[in-house]
């Protein structure tokens, strides 16, 4: 079905829903590369006007990727909850924006709404929002998850301690872990990207991190971010796996390119839960996403990259994850060209994920060939701090020496905690107090070189 909008004496026509969504998307290089972006600024606003008038029920009858060829479309439509949708059924996309921003709507109402929203509805409304709208709506949401601690409570802000090393050297990894713990980082997860995806390497890293965690009785979880099939092998061979990781995307075809599907993810969830290692909860999955992955795998079906991204959240929420992390600037300038585009995308992903009920974190990051720098990361970090992001990355000096990109540092996390008066996950905060690493106001204490953490892993 075609959609139209007249602006003065020009009538803009949009052939179908995916075209309308793509043309209504704020400018980004990936949509231009795919050839789906609006040709002019006026066409973009015309598309936004047409989108604003679209009844939400349209999304239940017109799929952006056909039901027959895509298991994620089937998942989205088959699991849609008509009861949860009932209260907004009569609204248009433009009405939905007004509703979400209205004073009456609070965290509890948004939680009740989650199962009634489809990714495409959420993507659509976000395209009508300014950055402050994305922040306002996200800040209303509260998504709390648990494994060995409690992540996502209001007034709390967590970090993934990311101790990557170019050759997976144990002492190198341990040195970064200790550095991060001294700076109060690591309550979301201590999670390493392995340099190689071999099961033996992965098992040794899992073991090593579990030993550090047990030795110092740290109320957090560890994860080696290997492919899910490698993690399944490691579990089978008895490795002490806390979280099962996987990168996911928003179309069946992009997930095929990642070597996964819904059945395999289900297997991962069941294997992770079977170990029963969580102490306060059983959220065992850790997903990473990012705008542009479907296009880069030539698996986007003409759908804009932000809508594809939000469809990935439908996959994520099926598996009740502990953490979902959008790696927003990693993919490169052909998808998000500069700081402005990265900032907007980070706020979109965070808001859309939260609306769908996900524990969203953001890897606030960029590569050296993007038109961005640490100032842009400071801006996005500050905005996400006010938006109530569940977690960010903590990397020594913001410089990942294995993946070669820049993200946020332990210092950056302290900055947001101090500025926005946010505290770590409660169990982890108690541990930091017990270890004499922070005072009761949450400020870091000076560390002596006799501190017992320095006995870690033979350092």
């Amino acid at each position: 079905m075609a959609y139209r909008c007249a602006v003065r004496n020009v009538t803009y026509r949009f052939d179908d829903l995916k075209t309308l969504l793509a043309k209504a998307t704020p400018l980004r290089s990936g949509d231009q590369l795919a050839g789906v972006a609006a040709r002019t600024a006026e066409e973009r606003v015309a598309a936004q006007m047409a989108l604003a008038d679209l009844p939400l029920t349209t999304f239940l009858t017109e799929a952006v990727i056909p039901y027959e060829i895509d298991e994620i479309t089937r998942l989205i439509l088959d699991t849609h909850d008509a009861d949860a949708f009932a209260s907004i059924r009569h609204l248009t996309v433009g009405d939905l924006r007004n509703y979400l921003l209205s004073d009456e709507v609070d965290a509890r109402m948004l939680t009740n709404l989650q199962a009634g929203l489809t990714p495409e509805m959420v993507a659509a409304v976000s395209k009508l929002m300014r950055n402050q709208d994305l922040i306002t709506v996200a800040a209303k949401c509260e998504v709390v998850t648990r494994f060995r601690n409690t992540i996502g409570l209001k007034g709390r802000f967590s970090t993934r301690l990311q101790p990557n090393h170019p050759t997976d050297d144990f002492r190198g990894v341990a040195a970064s872990i200790v550095d991060g713990l001294f700076y109060g980082s690591g309550d979301a997860v201590i999670g390493i990207n392995p340099a190689t995806d071999h099961v033996r390497t992965v098992m040794r890293l899992v073991d090593m991190m579990d030993q550090i965690r047990q030795r110092f009785d740290i109320p957090t979880q560890t994860c080696v971010l290997s492919h899910i099939t490698t993690t399944l092998q490691a579990i089978e061979q008895g490795a002490p796996v806390d979280l099962v990781f996987q990168s996911i995307g928003g179309t069946e075809a992009v997930n095929t390119s990642f070597g996964v599907n819904l059945a395999l993810l289900r297997e991962g969830l069941e294997a992770g839960r079977s170990l029963n290692r969580g102490t306060v909860g059983q959220n065992v999955m850790y997903f990473e996403t990012g705008q542009g992955s479907a296009l880069s795998a030539n698996a986007h079906h003409g759908v804009d990259q932000q809508t594809c991204e939000v469809r990935a959240y439908a996959v994520a929420r099926l598996f009740e994850p502990l953490l979902v992390n959008t790696v927003v600037g990693f993919i490169g300038p052909e998808y998000l060209y500069n700081g402005k585009q990265i900032i907007r995308a980070g706020l979109e992903d965070h808001c859309c994920g939260k609306l769908l009920g996900l524990p969203m974190g953001v890897d606030i990051c960029y590569t050296n060939h993007a038109e961005a720098d640490q100032d842009d990361m400071d801006t996005l970090l500050t905005l996400l701090g006010t938006a109530g992001v569940n977690f960010i990355m903590g990397i020594p000096g913001a410089d990942d020496v294995m993946l070669h990109y820049q993200s946020t540092s332990f210092h950056d996390a302290l900055y947001v905690r101090n500025l926005c008066r946010l505290r770590p996950a409660p169990e982890f905060e108690d541990w930091l107090l017990r270890m004499d690493l922070i005072n009761t106001e949450g400020r870091l204490l000076p560390v002596k070189n006799t501190h017992r953490l320095l006995q870690a892993a033979g350092l």
């Binding site: 290089s29 231009q32 590369l33 101790p163 990557n164 090393h165 170019p166 050297d169 002492r171 190198g172 990894v173 341990a174 040195a175 970064s176 200790v178 550095d179 001294f182 700076y183 190689t196 071999h198 033996r200 300038p333 052909e334 060209y337 590569t367 050296n368 060939h369 720098d373 640490q374 990397i395 020594p396 000096g397 913001a398 410089d399 020496v401 070669h404 820049q406 540092s409 210092h411 302290l414 900055y415 905690r417 101090n418 870091l444 560390v447 002596k448 070189n449 320095l454 350092l459």
Partner: protein
């Protein structure tokens, strides 16, 4: 006098285990001035590398002393800004360049040099690697296609070139995406029976070629090993990589 904190943390001795920026110290919750400026300098160098240009005339002159002829080619990406946003254009040659490839003959190997994301890497490291590699290739008795220098090129441009030149294998030496402490890393991508449209799983890669990373001679030996394997087993890419890695692990 500098009495404000600008010193590392007490656990700075851990730095010997990793190149990560650990134990940088803090003032309040912020980085001390020196650590901040060290980072800014590294980022500035990486940015400059992305926008660096091939010293083409000098490079071609030097390459001609190693092997002639040398073909000067250009991708369809007109400039750096377009190159960064349109990787598809960097993978294809412009019209003028395609005409230059009407060379008759069949070759064992085609060497392609391209600026990629760091012309600095090519400017600094390409000549010594090419010089040694060509020496070894001659010892093997392999025939060498004209050397090709491509401006604003991506890895896959080598497939189009080698296919047009009827070369059995291609090695693309290209500037890698600059890391914060490695603005001049050279990458080498190898493909057996290259043709337009191949993707990464058909290629093998040697990364971080530079004196502080993988030194020139080690890179040349690794290139020769992979080329020999490709020619013997008549394949490249994922299949070759898996067995190569397994061999490394068992040794």
């Amino acid at each position: 006098m500098n009495s404000l904190p600008d010193q590392p943390d007490p656990w700075a001795f851990l730095q010997s285990h990793t190149s990560a920026r650990i134990a940088r110290g803090r003032t309040g919750h912020s980085l001390p001035t020196r650590a901040l400026l060290d980072f800014q300098l590294d980022h500035a160098r990486a940015r400059d590398a992305v926008y660096s240009e091939l010293e083409r005339d000098q490079l071609v002159r030097q390459l001609k002393t190693v092997q002639e002829p040398v073909l000067q080619l250009h991708s369809r990406a007109a400039d750096r800004q377009q190159y960064l946003q349109r990787p598809d254009l960097g993978r294809k040659l412009d019209e003028q360049s395609r005409v230059k490839l009407s060379v008759s003959g069949r070759f064992d190997l085609c060497l392609v040099l391209s600026d990629g994301l760091s012309a600095t890497a090519i400017n600094r490291h390409a000549l010594p690697v090419v010089t040694r590699l060509v020496e070894e290739v001659r010892k093997q008795g392999w025939s060498l296609a004209p050397l090709c220098v491509v401006e604003q090129g991506r890895v896959a441009v080598g497939d189009e070139i080698a296919y047009a030149l009827k070369a059995e294998t291609v090695v693309v030496l290209i500037g890698e995406r600059p890391g914060l402490t490695s603005p001049d890393s050279l990458g080498a991508y190898l493909t057996f029976r290259p043709e337009p449209g191949l993707t990464d799983e058909s290629r093998n890669c040697i990364s971080n070629i530079r004196p502080e990373g993988l030194p020139y001679e080690a890179a040349v030996q690794k290139l020769l090993y992979l080329l020999t394997e490709m020619k013997t087993r008549k394949l490249s890419g994922v299949q070759l990589k898996d067995e190569f890695d397994d061999n490394l692990l068992t040794h």
